[in-house]
Amino acid sequence: MASIVAAMAMTHAPGLTGWFDRAPAEQQQEARRALGELRQRLESARPDVIVAFSNDHLLNWPINNTPEFTVGIGEEHVGPAEWYDEWLALEQYRIPGHPALARYLVNEGARRRLAFAYLRRMQFDDGISVPMHYLNPGGRTALVPVTMNCTVPPIPTPERCYQVGTVLRAMLAAWPGPERIAILATGGLSHEPGGPRYFWVDEEFDLWFLDLLKRGDHQSLLRECTLERMEQAGSGGTAELNAWILALAFTRGPADVIAYLPAIAWRTGTGMVVWNELA
């Protein structure tokens, strides 16, 4: 049977690759340290496949049709998408997919009344490209990307994402293969991409949210961290934390906060966490 061997979350801000050196030196140093630690903890879990949850930034689906969740079912994933390569300052990368597991998520999800759209050729912007650059260089570990709608109204609520995470946890536990699976959530923390507060970072919100994760009380987090509260902290971007909340359903107990940086140079509250106990 498959086993979940790791659960972690990180910011995917494009500045982490595209204009990394524009941040203050101490933020660059701390980000390098934290990303190195995250990678080390991922590698030490020896996953066969990473199931990654991230916002689709209106890249794969037009605004008239934005599924809540989309699974990339390809044999291989190639990124970054054209035009994003220059923005992210990343060379083209290739990562093996896991089509059997990905197609299982789509079909078993349907049986469990979860509508997962799918793409055989998913395109990748910062949401997957930045975390893979730091955590999975060379594409050594297979990837099943799952994109979410965190930015086009109606944005799913945190409760909805946690519920989907709970069903996904049961689905992955029932997968008959021997794979060791790592759960990776990407996005957040506070930011408002393209909005009037584009340059703003809500440090107070970010520290409050991370403290909720450190406390490890899921019901309390779901009660307090509403979609409205996330929108106040940065509209259209902070709700990427829905991916973290989905991943939360794979865990129990407190999260280790590896780092937090109120990185205005990257226009994003930047954080990395790892959960030690898996549900």
């Binding site: 101490e26 930015t151 086009v152 509209s235 205005i264």
Partner: protein, 116 residues
């Protein structure tokens, strides 16, 4: 809810941006024949004028999805090294001076704090 709720999901410019980003030929036409491109995608006069003016605030008011607005600016000014001093971001400073001033005051406070 926040600014993202201003988005008009039926606005032709929101549809146009989805395709322009993905297609090098459309991106080339953006640079050479934006007027025809706007007509082909059915943009209204207000949308086309806001584009011509590179008017971030007006684009936001019209209901362009906020995520597309910096991408519009990058189509005009380039995408590489998109730091806070990039010309595409200068358009934001002009459009939202109060919000921007607050953010940069915060950046200065954070930097002072970091240096002790």
């Amino acid at each position: 809810m926040g600014n993202v709720e201003r988005c008009d999901k039926t606005l032709p410019l929101n549809e146009m941006m989805f395709y322009v980003r993905k297609d090098a030929r459309l991106r080339a036409r953006w640079q050479t024949d934006l007027e025809t491109l706007c007509r082909e995608f059915g943009l209204g006069a207000d949308e086309a004028q806001a584009l011509r003016d590179r008017d971030v605030r007006r684009l936001n008011e019209l209901g362009v999805h906020q995520y597309y607005i910096p991408q519009i600016m990058r189509l005009f000014f380039g995408a590489a090294a998109n730091s806070n001093t990039h010309p595409a971001l200068e358009a934001y400073r002009r459009a939202f001076p109060e919000e921007t001033a607050r953010a940069f005051a915060l950046a200065e406070r954070l930097e002072r704090r970091a240096k002790g």
